[in-house]
């Protein structure tokens, strides 16, 4: 598996948020604004890289019986460290992510990458996989966050100063007044529906591409899908 395949896997082909549908709980809960989505996405990315790093380094030497347990401990420690750091340096973001920050521990994406990939691969690949999968999750979160924030609050990137620091106060656009936002987009059912629409869009594009490829190729199989 070369680097390009790892990247393509993490970002597109098996994007954890949009294809594997891992970590749906934080994906749906925290994606109500770009700022929140970006904050949780970055925290998850950091933890994922750290846990892949440790898994690649010590994974092969761990007794099989406790390998998963050790990974869980490592992930829990990494998440706790991230949470403490965020409480110290980004308290506003820490407050707005609330319980979903410590809940990164339960994101099965992280444990599954450590167990099924990183612990069986050399370090560079494990790190790249952590970055690719983390970035894939981050992108899914931010996309959903952008759509929900725009529809629900009429803004894009409001509150980014909580993440980036006070220098960014007032960053972000108010596209239309918050009062005329579509509340449904901010509520959990709205998150489900919008994620469903995004998935449907993705599937439709994939299907169309497949059809094009089939039509463009010397046709040995007639296209019956349409």
């Amino acid at each position: 598996m070369d680097a390009r395949a790892i990247l393509r896997d993490g970002l597109l082909q098996s994007n954890p948020g949009l294809v594997q549908l891992l970590g749906l709980c934080p994906l749906l809960a925290v994606s109500n604004s770009v700022a929140n989505a970006l904050g949780l996405g970055l925290a998850t990315l950091g933890v994922l890289v750290a846990s892949n790093l440790v898994a690649a380094l010590v994974g092969p030497y761990l007794p099989r019986e406790v390998r998963l347990a050790v990974f869980v401990i490592v992930i829990a420690a990494a998440v706790t460290a991230v949470e403490l750091a965020m409480a110290a340096w980004r308290p506003g973001l820490h407050d707005s992510l609330g319980i979903f920050l410590p809940l990164i521990i339960t994101n099965c994406l992280i444990l599954s990458r450590a167990e099924s990939f990183a612990s069986r691969q050399p370090l560079p690949r494990a790190l790249l996989d952590g970055m690719a999968m983390g970035a894939g999750f981050l992108i899914a979160l931010v996309m959903l966050g952008a759509v929900r924030e725009l529809l629900g609050s009429g803004s894009l990137g409001a509150g980014l100063e909580l993440l980036l620091g006070p220098a960014f106060a007032g960053a972000g656009w108010q596209v239309f007044p918050q009062s005329s936002g579509l509340r449904f987009a901010l509520l959990p059912p709205g998150a489900f529906v919008l994620l469903g629409l995004m998935l449907a869009l993705g599937n439709a594009r994939a299907a169309a591409r497949k059809r094009d490829a089939a039509a463009g190729a010397p046709a040995d199989v007639p296209d019956t899908a349409a």
């Binding site: 019986e65 406790v66 347990a69 050790v70 403490l84 409480a87 110290a88 308290p91 509340r183």
Partner: protein, 221 residues
């Protein structure tokens, strides 16, 4: 099977246990180190947040004490909405208590209790009200949050007799306070809780405002 030697079951179990213990110790060590470096900063940040919370609700009055530590315990399930004792902060200028900030709870919010901070001056007028914690519906009930709308400023300058008692209601119930389109339960709960908190302050005016600064420490439960 990570070793080639035919380990006996007990040996394997011991080895696994030892590895797990070492991993746990390393993780605990890491967390302890991070905690050591972040703890003072987190404490300072939290303190600053609480001070900011308190000053925000005072509407800019002058004071020279530390309201965060100048506290009295208040307890009135009926008027303050909580079975537990709550805190009130005294705001002083010189010898005089110029305001009290009372923590109160609106127990009947749409999605559970709403925690409020109610600032009342010595004449019984509201300096301000802030929602400290709530779980109201985004886009509807959460307009009570000062960061989401100006609604909460509708209480600024009000008192028990302003508006008169019968009009301490949302408009829908014949009162003076706006409700939100599609959300009446939340504003109704807040209006009632603020009025009750004012009532509490009026009934306990002497205890809250009267005590000399020297005895302030005895107010803690």
């Amino acid at each position: 099977m990570d070793t080639r030697s035919p380990d006996s079951a007990p040996r394997r179990a011991l080895r696994a246990g030892a590895v797990l213990a070492i991993a746990a110790a390393c993780a605990a060590g890491l967390v302890a180190v991070v905690n050591r470096y972040t703890e003072p900063r987190i404490a300072a940040v939290q303190r600053a947040q609480r001070v900011a919370e308190l000053t925000a609700v005072m509407g800019g009055i002058a004071y020279d004490n530390d309201p965060l530590s100048d506290i009295v315990s208040v307890h009135d399930p009926e008027l303050l909405g909580s079975e537990q004792p709550l805190l009130a902060h005294r705001v002083r200028l010189g010898e005089e208590t110029v305001a009290v900030l009372v923590n109160a709870v609106a127990p009947d919010g749409y999605a559970g209790p709403v925690r409020l901070l109610v600032a009342v001056d010595a004449q019984g007028r509201l300096l301000g009200v802030r929602v400290l914690e709530h779980r109201e519906t985004p886009g509807l009930g959460d307009l009570i949050d000062e960061r989401r709308s100006r609604w909460i400023h509708g209480f600024d300058g009000r008192a028990l007799d302003d508006p008169p008692r019968a009009r301490w209601q949302v408009r829908k119930d014949g009162g003076d306070f706006d409700q939100f389109t599609g959300a009446t339960v939340t504003p109704r709960a807040i209006v009632r809780a603020v009025r009750d908190a004012l009532e509490y302050v009026a009934r306990h005016h002497d205890e809250l405002f009267g005590a000399a600064p020297a005895s302030s420490g005895s107010g803690t439960p």
